[in-house]
């Protein structure tokens, strides 16, 4: 049985809101405590050091205060969450080997097809575990490692230990502590020196069970002069209760490497999406975050680039759509710690039906650097008078030889523009849509083609009925 009816009013245009019957082979009780952490660790047959890391993180999570800024999280009850649900015993490398219900889900989401057409490798996470994982044979031969992190811990312990938690320490913030304690699933990706992965790799995250917290962990290491484009997609069913998604993504771009990380987050309107994403960018390396936040109830996510080597470049493109009941608190951080580094942050947000879209960003330039450039643009579009936009840029400049520019602009769809387009025969809805597309265009053209199409379709869905 497939339930495609959305039980929550106002969200009926969310096309991924179906839920399939819950499947689990193991499901401990709600709440986060030492026992649960030990259970998760035992299920994964983890080495002692990882268990200890988790327990340290658990203590940090209890100690750390909730942030007193950002999206309104209010009294989210961290005890009313399942921290681990294991859907099947072992992940598979063939879609056909998945239980029918799970395969059904992914078919509806169109993943097997997408993989065949566009991707060099794919991981699919269902609740707490990665259920499907595969990579094109040629890449494996070149030494590319693309695994669920649990398997990487078992098979490449030295590599994992060298980088895990080094970019985002477990005690960085409350949510990184939460993830470090309860992490399950995600991706481990290693690209050897000089290997260029021309076709994107993708992971897809799906929450299916009610009251679940998903805490995937992604670690990407791009060795010298390598290149990879990694894509992440997320959806969840619509429940009347809230879901929690708190991921940690760490990227290390070694000398001369380039990494592009694209997220199109389309969680249902009951997901608290509290994510820490950070990249360490070494000499002459470049990291680009493309961050699309369409869904979720609350999102707090500020992809960061730490430019630690000379000639490093960081780019953050952020799109946020704040619709009814949504608060998107997103943005980006660029921390310049070396000379001759540059960063660009471009943020575009749209607020509609009383939704809130906030830009929160930091540009920091350490002392004594030469020739640092940073450019920040954040544009906000308001579609009606009840919607809200906020901008909180922070600029901390401690060197002289810096060129730092920040611009922000808030506007609405102007009546002149609408009038002009309607005079040319477009309906009001088509005209609005065209203006919104034009507003997003500089970002959308940065996406791979199939994603650009997908994003346009999502925006169209969100925009439906917005005129009148």
């Amino acid at each position: 049985m497939i339930d495609t009816q959305a039980p929550v009013s106002g969200l009926s245009d969310y096309q991924f809101g179906f839920s399939d019957p819950e499947i689990s082979v193991f499901k401990p009780e709600k709440g986060l405590n030492e026992k649960i952490i030990r259970t998760i660790s035992a299920h994964k047959n983890e080495p002692e050091w990882m268990l200890e890391y988790r327990l340290r993180a658990l203590r940090a999570f209890r100690r750390k205060p909730m942030p007193n800024w950002g999206a309104e999280i209010g009294d989210f009850d961290f005890d009313d969450v399942y921290y681990y649900i294991k859907p099947i015993d072992e992940g598979v490398a063939n879609w056909e080997d998945l239980p029918e219900d799970i395969l059904n889900t992914y078919d509806k989401l169109g993943l097997p097809e997408a993989e065949r057409k566009f991707l060099a490798g794919m991981g699919a996470q269902y609740d707490s575990e990665v259920v499907y994982h595969s990579i094109k044979a040629g890449l494996e031969e070149q030494g590319v490692i693309f695994l669920p992190p649990e398997e990487a811990v078992a098979r490449h312990p030295d590599l994992v230990r060298k980088y895990f938690g080094k970019v985002v320490p477990y005690n960085d913030n409350k949510f990184s502590a939460l993830n470090s304690a309860a992490w399950s699933g995600g991706t481990f990706l290693y690209i050897p020196p000089n290997v260029k992965v021309e076709i994107p790799l993708q992971s897809y995250f799906r929450i299916n069970s009610e009251n679940l917290g998903q805490f995937e962990r992604t670690l990407i290491i791009a060795d010298k002069n390598s290149f990879v484009h990694y894509i992440e997609g997320c959806t969840a069913p619509i429940y009347t209760t809230d879901l929690l998604h708190s991921a940690v993504v760490e990227i290390i771009a070694e000398e001369g490497a380039r990494v592009r990380y694209t997220t199109i987050q389309n969680w249902s309107g009951n997901v608290y999406n509290l994510v820490t994403q950070r990249a360490l960018v070494k000499k002459n390396a470049a990291v680009e975050w493309v961050d699309g936040n369409i869904g979720s109830k609350r999102t707090m996510k500020y992809p960061a680039v730490y430019l630690t080597g000379e000639g490093a470049h960081g780019e953050i493109l952020s799109i946020a759509f704040g619709g009814r009941g949504q608060e998107q608190d997103t943005g980006g951080k660029a921390v310049h710690k070396a000379s001759n580094t540059s960063s660009v942050i471009t943020s575009k947000s749209i607020s509609k039906d009383g939704g809130i879209a906030s830009y929160r960003g930091l540009v920091k330039v350490a002392e004594g650097l030469k020739n640092v450039k940073s450019h920040v643009i954040c544009d906000a579009l308001l579609l009606d008078e009840t919607s809200i936009t906020r901008t909180f840029p922070y600029m901390e400049i401690e060197s002289e030889d810096v060129s730092m520019e920040h611009e922000a602009l808030v506007s609405r769809i102007s009546e002149d523009q609408l009038f002009y387009l309607m005079a040319r025969g477009l309906s009001e809805e088509e005209a609005s849509m065209m203006i919104v597309n034009g507003f997003l265009e500089p970002l959308v053209k940065q996406l791979p083609m199939e994603y650009a199409v997908e994003l346009n379709r999502l925006i169209e869905l969100e925009m439906e009925g917005s005129v009148g």
């Binding site: 901008t391 909180f392 400049i397 401690e398 002289e400 920040h406 922000a408 808030v410």
Partner: protein, 452 residues
């Protein structure tokens, strides 16, 4: 001791219930008082002003009679003499009543002389010293609003121990063409007493009136090592419908002074507010100007200029609150920061849901004069409706070497070229000032750049 108005009572309660600002409060994150100020100095200061206040209550009658003679009786040659006798600081010599509608000198926040030109008095300007028991209604209203919205101990301290306020009032339709000059001087305190000043300036412009005020803070240079002077000043200004108020704040305090400033400006229908602030001195400066556009069609221009030379910490903030439709506001703040100094700019535009047709802009430009200078810039927007045109911009950078090269090729020495470029960068924030005030500030700028 009788608490003689509800405002004082409210401020005392608030003061008791709050702590000194800490860096975990976003507003104070970049200005950590526990690190920047000698230990216990705020506590001792607040105790001292509280005790002073109690003493002042007792002698209130005498003080009233003393100041009454200089305030309401305007004009006459004897007041002219009074002015030249008491005017001090760098403004000396430039001053004559022909240039100013009124001249007021305060020492540590208390009036020493009040002089009003007969012409201005006739035209509708009134200058008076109001004891805290006789605060005008608008001052109490704005004070209460400020206390409740800021919920901050330093503000509460100001209002709790404020013994009186200078009140400038322009009557309906009066155009006061010459500016009013208010000079605040710090004086050496009695032995072992902290040097604290809590000056307050209140401005009321009635319908269709207009007024310009220069509020000048100057510090005498020779404080003993043991003294850290603190000024906890506030300004409140209410511009009634169609009126025009122009306020210039000039701060050339010596480099050991701690300067807190909270300004609250409000504009009714079609009123025009201009606020310029120029900070050249002080060890620690924390200034906030909050502009409330209450009336449709009102307008506020905020301009700031700061020169932070070695060792100074300047934290300047603006808030443009649009509460009515079709109002316009623009803030332009420029800073030059030397190595060993730090500047913080925190600006915010707030647009209420009913403020449709809002036009609001915010710009902050910083010039870093060398490595080890630090400039933080936080221009923020909080927009709650869609019919708005809002933008903000911020830049931080260094002097363009190409421009220096060009000037040098035209015969400027490297130092001259640098000086001219800094001056050229900053002077955009000095536009639109009355002539005599522009001259004074331009002189201050030269002096500040010469130092460093």
């Amino acid at each position: 001791m009788a608490i003689n108005n509800l405002l004082t009572a409210e401020a005392s309660v608030l003061f008791e219930n709050l702590n000194w600002p800490r860096p975990d409060d976003e507003e104070w994150r970049r200005t950590d008082l526990s690190r920047l100020l000698p230990h216990g100095i705020l506590e001792r200061g607040a105790e001292a002003t509280w005790a002073d206040r109690a003493a002042a209550e007792i002698s209130r009658v005498q003080r009233n009679s003393l100041y009454d003679c200089s305030d309401s009786e305007s004009g006459g040659p004897e007041t002219d003499e009074h002015v030249s006798a008491s005017a001090g600081g760098s403004s000396e010599g430039r001053l004559s009543l022909e240039n100013y509608a009124a001249h007021i000198v305060t020492e540590a926040g208390r009036p020493v002389s009040i002089t009003l030109s007969p012409k201005a008095a006739e035209a509708g300007l009134a200058v008076e010293w109001a004891d805290s028991g006789d605060f005008p209604e608008s001052l109490i209203r704005m004070g209460a609003d400020e206390l409740r919205s800021s919920r901050e101990r330093i503000t509460a301290w100001h209002w709790r121990d404020l013994s009186g306020s200078l009140v400038l009032r322009v009557s309906r339709g009066s155009q006061i063409t010459e500016p009013v000059l208010v000079e605040e001087h710090l004086i050496l305190p009695d032995e072992n007493k902290p040097l604290i000043s809590l000056p307050h300036l209140h401005i009321e412009a009635e319908e269709s009136a207009s007024l310009s005020v220069l509020w000048s803070f100057e510090g005498s240079p020779d404080f003993p090592e043991s003294v850290t002077p603190i000024i906890n000043a506030a300004l409140s200004a209410e511009a009634a419908a169609d009126s025009s108020v122009n306020i210039i704040l000039r701060q050339i305090l010596s480099n050991r002074v701690v300067f807190f400033l909270h300004d609250r400006l409000s504009a009714a229908r079609d009123a025009r507010l201009r606020f310029h602030e120029a900070h050249f001195g002080g060890a620690l400066v924390k200034s906030r100007v909050r502009t409330v556009l209450n009336g449709p069609g009102s307008e506020a221009l905020l301009n700031g200029l700061l020169v932070a030379s070695f060792g100074r910490h300047m934290d300047i903030g603006t808030r443009q609150e649009h509460r009515a439709p079709k109002a316009f506001s623009n803030a332009l703040y420029k800073g030059a920061v030397s190595p060993g100094a730090r500047s913080v700019f925190q600006g915010l535009i707030v647009v209420d849901p009913n403020a449709s047709g809002t036009d609001a802009y915010l710009t902050n430009n910083n010039l870093l004069l060398g490595d080890g200078a630090r400039a933080d810039s936080l221009p923020q927007l909080d927009i709650l409706t869609d019919d708005v045109k809002c933008s903000h911009g911020s830049t931080s950078g260094k002097i363009d070497p190409l421009q220096t090269f060009y000037l040098q090729s035209r015969g400027f020495s490297p130092e001259e070229a640098r000086g001219e470029l800094i001056r050229g960068f900053l002077c955009g924030a000095l536009e639109g000032l009355p002539e005599e005030v522009a001259e004074i500030l331009s002189g201050d700028l030269d002096a500040a750049l010469a130092v460093g």
